[in-house]
């Protein structure tokens, strides 16, 4: 089955480009002008980039000067983790500790582990709840006096199991001991309420292509009073923190995608949550022993509607005991249903999800899981396509076993 006919249930990997984004980008791609140039063409390009910066800032509760354009989520995470570590340690050599959750995206985890292996960082792993959430109490205990801590990093919403943490509460804990907090909000923006200023976090990662924008375009929101050592040196763009000629078309696409996703968030979230709930109920009806990973579907962050949802509305992460995620994915793919098993290495070897292992799940459960993620183009027909095949697929995958002795 070709991808155009497939039921695409992998929006957390990437989601289709919005038509408005395509139009906005196409309008820029044919124009000449380096936003750093002083002549009229340069000014025109700069005007478009800066308008985008302002609109983006407004949508995310940030000031325009806090918006740093990057090449995507991975770069933003690297810049925040390494840049904050270097700047803080250089200001005070005692600050060598990084406090981080083991359920983070690899862009954060591998940056932290690189600093530990090559640059004298010490890592304190935060305990996570069985849902994957990091609690303020756990962060407080891990930070101690904070005087030896370079930074803390806790993701806003988990990319695999969709669990949302309370970043405002966590930022309060970090600031009480003078530690800056970075958050990877790649999955959160446009899905749950994200207000940079109100949350108090010091640095926030986001990316365009999870929102209907182009790939290769991201943002690091960085508070103006937070020092960050650059990864990329050159022309001094982006507050001297991220050099490189601005990709104006990508920036416009990122801006249109973000402002649209944020503006439509509530309606879309309600629709996706209902669709997601139907997906889970339909799978449970056919596979009664299926296990839901992460927070309950109707979880609320602080127990009230005001606190916002405790789980991403479009996320369903399920374990199928006795079946291997690998086999399930292959069988579903062959039947035109596209989903994900979590992380694979660059050679493509599926690994048990480090996120599930971090929540205390046993390796078999971690290996038997699938992520279904819904997005702006998801329909009832997509869910129906999954429900039409999931029963026999699980049965067959179980016959193939866990692939290990």
């Amino acid at each position: 089955m070709s991808s155009s006919e497939a039921a695409y249930l992998d929006h957390a990997a990437t989601t289709p480009l919005l038509p408005a984004v395509l139009a906005a980008m196409a309008g820029q791609l044919g124009r000449v002008g380096n936003a750093s140039s002083l002549h009229a063409s340069g000014r025109a390009a700069r005007r478009v980039a800066e308008q985008s910066r302002e609109r983006l800032a407004e949508a995310l509760g940030a000031r325009p000067s806090e918006v740093l354009f990057t090449g995507g989520g991975t770069e933003s995470d690297n810049l925040a983790v390494k840049g904050l570590f270097w700047a803080r340690r250089d200001a005070d050599p005692r600050r060598r500790r990084i406090v981080v959750s083991p359920a983070e995206h690899h862009a954060v985890l591998d940056s932290v582990e690189w600093l530990a292996a090559h640059d004298g960082a010490e890592v304190t792993w935060l305990p996570v709840e069985p849902t994957g959430r990091v609690t303020p109490r756990a962060l407080r205990a891990a930070l101690g006096t904070g005087e030896d801590v370079a930074l803390a990093s806790v993701m806003w919403a988990n990319n695999e199991i969709g669990t949302v943490s309370d970043l405002a509460a966590l930022a309060g804990v970090a600031h009480a001991v003078g530690v800056p907090l970075h958050t990877d909000a790649v999955q959160a923006v446009g899905q749950v309420p994200v207000d940079f200023a109100a949350s108090g976090v010091d640095a926030l990662t986001m990316t365009a292509h999870k929102l209907g924008g182009p790939m290769g375009a991201g943002v690091l929101l960085l508070r103006r009073d937070v020092a960050c050592t650059p990864l990329l040196h050159g022309g001094g763009q982006e507050r001297d923190v991220r050099s490189g000629t601005l990709d104006v078309a990508a920036i416009v696409g990122l801006q249109v995608a973000t402002t649209t996703a944020v503006a439509d968030r509530e309606d879309r979230a309600d629709r996706l949550a209902a669709l997601r709930d139907r997906l889970v109920a339909g799978v449970v009806a056919q596979v009664p022993d299926v296990q839901l990973n992460g927070a309950p579907l109707d979880d609320l962050l602080d127990g009230t509607v005001e606190g916002g949802p405790g789980r991403l509305p479009g996320n369903a992460h399920l374990s199928f005991p006795g079946a291997e995620g690998d086999a399930l994915l292959m069988l579903l793919d062959a039947r035109g249903v596209e989903c994900s098993t979590g992380s694979a290495c660059s050679a493509g070897v599926a690994r048990p999800s480090h996120v599930l292992l971090a929540t205390g799940a046993d390796p078999d459960r971690a290996r038997s899981s699938l992520r279904f993620s819904l997005g702006h183009t998801s329909t009832d027909a997509d869910v129906d396509a999954l429900l039409a095949v999931i029963g026999p697929v699980v049965e067959r995958a179980r016959r193939a076993g866990m692939g290990r002795r």
């Binding site: 070897v349 480090h354 067959r396």
Partner: protein
């Protein structure tokens, strides 16, 4: 048919998969991650194998428009192939890891899983002919791999497809080039895949440690030298014995006794083997009626020798070779063929060499 193409990233398996697609089968590609070298594995949640080979295989699958996955069989490979290899050497025997991989990984672990997932058979790029359940040599004698496939049973062969058996290697490369596969000119693999530097003796020494023992002259029974480990020797080996004989006649390794670590050497007239006793055989079809006239091949790329096959002890076979052979070591596979110049020699079955006699 629904076929699972095992794609190593090399040119043979690429063309085999392409021919299966051309033949109208529903083909899915898999790359087997087998690397047992834990140093190439990252600690933590992700591991990597031969990244480049996996990439090459994926490129071909994408060009063919077929699904492609990587199956992690590193644990099973380490257990069933690498550990077996080391244990066999430690026991003074000479194993063939490619044969073991076909027997226990490709046409066991992979085939079993493929069948459970709804596939009819596994396609590989082996150079051998397989039709009507009969396994025969490839038309390309130099590339023929029937020797390392002879261990497969009728049930395993029923789940195997070898599209390349009627093609020369040269033609395989031409087909790959015609299709624009980037792997068309990729070098053949010769070495044991889990010993990339080709230093088998070094690998075994690292795994087994130094195990010194005496080198004994078969004619006199005298100890003529000392060795660092019997695993460094293979029966029939002539070079690198590290002993100076009293005369100028070359010496060969005649036998390896693992318990006392004794390596026995002798002159050429003692190195020939006229009789081979084996462990119980496996047959590619119904068990052959004995006694039997056949050709036997005693190692990969060895020359086949006419022989008479009779029943031996404990369910094994006794092979009486028409002409004596050098370099026949316990652990090696004796593969029996029915000669057939026209359709290719047919594989009857195989058995591991247990012992030899003059």
């Amino acid at each position: 048919m629904r076929l699972l193409a095992a794609m190593s990233g090399g040119v043979d398996s690429a063309v085999a998969a392409a021919l299966a697609v051309d033949a109208g089968h529903e083909v899915t590609g898999v790359h087997l991650a087998l690397s047992p070298d834990r140093q190439t594995l990252r600690s933590g949640a992700r591991g990597c194998c031969s990244v480049e080979d996996a990439h090459d295989a994926r490129r071909v699958a994408d060009e063919l428009g077929i699904p492609f996955y990587v199956w992690d069989l590193a644990e099973r490979f380490a257990e069933d192939v690498v550990e077996d290899f080391v244990a066999e050497y430690a026991a003074g025997r000479t194993p063939n890891p490619c044969l073991r991989c076909n027997e226990r990984i490709k046409f066991s672990a992979v085939l079993d899983r493929a069948r459970a997932l709804g596939f009819d058979a596994v396609v590989t790029g082996h150079h051998a002919r397989l039709a009507g359940g009969e396994l025969r040599r490839s038309v390309d004698a130099a590339k023929d791999q029937s020797y390392v496939l002879a261990v497969l049973t009728a049930d395993q062969l029923a789940g195997a497809v070898f599209p390349l058996g009627s093609m020369t290697k040269r033609r395989v490369r031409e087909v790959a080039a015609e299709r624009g596969f980037a792997v068309a000119a990729k070098a053949d693999s010769h070495d044991i895949c889990f010993i990339p530097d080709g230093d088998t003796r070094g690998f075994l020494t690292r795994r087994l440690g130094a195990r010194p023992g005496p080198v004994v002259d078969a004619a006199t029974g005298a100890v003529v030298g000392e060795h660092a480990g019997a695993h460094g020797f293979t029966v029939g080996q002539r070079r690198g014995l590290g002993v100076a004989a009293g005369d100028s006649r070359p010496r060969y390794v005649l036998g390896i006794e693992p318990v006392t670590r004794t390596v026995t050497i002798g002159t050429a007239d003692l190195a020939g083997v006229g009789e081979v006793r084996t462990d119980p055989p496996t047959w590619t079809g119904p068990a052959a009626a004995l006694p039997l006239r056949a050709e036997v091949q005693l190692r990969a790329h060895g020359t086949p020798v006419p022989c008479t096959v009779t029943a031996g002890d404990g369910g094994g076979l006794r092979l009486l070779l028409d002409s004596p052979q050098r370099g026949v070591a316990p652990g090696q596979s004796a593969v029996l063929y029915a000669p057939d110049a026209e359709r290719g020699d047919r594989v009857l079955g195989q058995a591991a060499v247990a012992s030899t006699a003059w």
